[in-house]
């Protein structure tokens, strides 16, 4: 069985072949030996399936807390959380080099809009100041190019994912 998991801008491919009391596994081609020491109960919270996994990876015991919700798998392991994505998105490569589409990362209020349609912007140039969870945050351009749409309105409220500014990237080398 092969599973593709996206982590940030990268995709990890995990192979699992049952063997003995565990699996012969690969992660991006690197071989690992995995055994499940105990199967914790599956529970659910807020629409997620949650389980405690006791594993032995290459002879080393470890405990992972795993929550699955829709096409996401969150793994807590040794004080760190890994947010994997499965499904269609995991096969793509979008988002790797920055996008010209700037949308609201969470609900909030638009404090000010710093660009207008037709403006030329550089990478890192501030576009919109948003207030969310009591703090002002500046959203900056991830790509250089020309502003082709401005949907953010000062003093307006936005929902997560709302389009704020669209930038058409400048052609490479221009």
């Amino acid at each position: 069985m092969e599973t593709r998991l996206r982590l940030g801008s990268r995709t990890l491919t995990v192979g699992l072949v049952a063997e003995g009391d565990g699996w012969a596994a690969t992660v991006d081609g690197a071989a690992h030996r995995v055994a499940r020491l105990a199967a914790g109960p599956c529970t659910s919270a807020a629409g997620a399936t949650v389980e405690d996994l006791w594993l032995e990876v290459d002879g080393r015991p470890c405990r992972a807390l795993v929550a699955r919700i829709r096409d996401r798998v969150l793994v807590a392991l040794a004080g760190r959380v890994y947010a994997f994505e499965t499904g269609e998105e995991a096969r793509g490569t979008h988002g790797a080099a920055g996008s010209g589409t700037v949308s609201a990362p969470m609900p909030g209020k638009v404090v000010s809009v710093l660009v207008a349609i037709g403006d030329t912007v550089e990478v890192g140039q501030p576009l919109v100041v948003l207030e969310a969870m009591k703090m002002e945050t500046t959203l900056a351009a991830e790509v250089a190019g020309r502003v082709t749409a401005v949907r953010a309105v000062a003093a307006g409220t936005v929902a997560a994912g709302d389009l704020l500014v669209e930038i058409t990237p400048a052609a490479a080398g221009s």
Binding site: L7, C42, C62, A67, L74, A78, A83, F84
Partner: protein
Amino acid sequence: MSVKTVLIANRGEIAVRIARACHERGLAAVAVYSAVDRGAPHTLAADGAVAIGPAPAAESYLNVEALLAAARSAGADAVHPGYGFLAESAAFARAVERAGLTWIGPSPDAVATMGDKLAARATVARAGVPLVPGAGVTADDAAPAARRLGYPVLVKAVAGGGGKGMRTVASEAELPGALAAARREAEAAFADGRVYLEKLLVRPRHVEVQVLGDRHGTLVHLGERECSIQRRHQKVVEETPCPALTPELRAELTAAGLAAARAVGYTSAGTVEFLLDADGRFYFLEMNTRVQVEHPITEWVTGIDIVAAQLRIAAGEALGFTQDDVRAAGHAIEARLYAEDPAAGFFPSAGPILALREPQGPGIRVDSGIAAGGTVPVEYDPLLGKISAWGPERASAIARLGNALRDTAVLGPATNLAFLQDVLEHPAFRRGETHTGFLAEHFATWQPGGDEATAALAAALALARPAVPADARGPAATPTPWETLGAWRLGG
């Protein structure tokens, strides 16, 4: 004045902390909650809970009329404001007293004086406490004043606190934008848009003195806390004692803290904040007239329960001990667990807590305001809780806290958990070489890293098992905004 039932005008971990302190003194605790906090942990910790309004803080936790009505309906005879929200509102303190209730905090006049940063500076300067060079500012005189102080300067809200309405300005070109942003933030957070300038010290430590005063003339300090590990002017890691203080400097600093508190006739628990430069000079920053987020580390080393002391002082009791009775033992350190993504400019995160594991063990303390199945609302500060540790010396306290953080798991919103562990591991932190620019200097390009291969194996094995069927989760609910969020907001 007798206190039997305390209304806690707050939410989250501090409201849980106060409810427990009430119970330990045989008092009843009444929680309040906004529409998004129904059933939240702080309401479960109390003996009763009263709805005070819709989600926005202005209509609930900042709504004086609703809070007083809740106190009346619950039969409360006292109000504890916690920190944040209305904790440093003299108007709220006065309204509480006018309603015939006991305000669990310093006198409204002390709150008002220290809450006005310019009045505070003038008051403590008269008491001989050194100040950071600064200037009062209006729109017209900002540029000349900043030139006089010399860049870099700091724009601060007169009514400020918690880093809100504060901006660093490196050059005159940045000044108008910084003033405008600071005024907006201050207006939104404190309904007071006045700002002033302060000279920005280079690589100072943030060191603060905890004081405790009763209404019978006893005022003591409980030593200092170093809180230099900050992002966006908000503390992330705090410890006591400060690794940079000599006994002589500690004596001077705590004496200055007491002088500042005495200058306003301070009672209850309060904190006098100072900046300490590399040459051992310290300057008054501000006084926080409330219980501090990081009070647990002082409780660790002194054995004095600061919230219990607030309750006793408000009831008119004498402190019952003097400065000579205060002894600090060992070292304590606290990490603040925030719902935010340190790899994305500390952008706040929100949404349901899918799974939660909290640490335990000797010398570990958890002050938590969250529970699995609960939600981190977008309306409030992203502080989820605090994990603190005590050890006989600094290195063992840090190691204990590191273990505790490694044993912690929060699945749902992104948190700074991995970031906190990396801060504790940093060689400069281990050497005690901290200053308020520490994170900007060492962690500006931080990435989470870790053992991705093992995590991927765990994910793949979990996916190989069937999920809990949807009908086991109860009636289908309409998707919350959280569930329609972009994928990248989750986890981290």
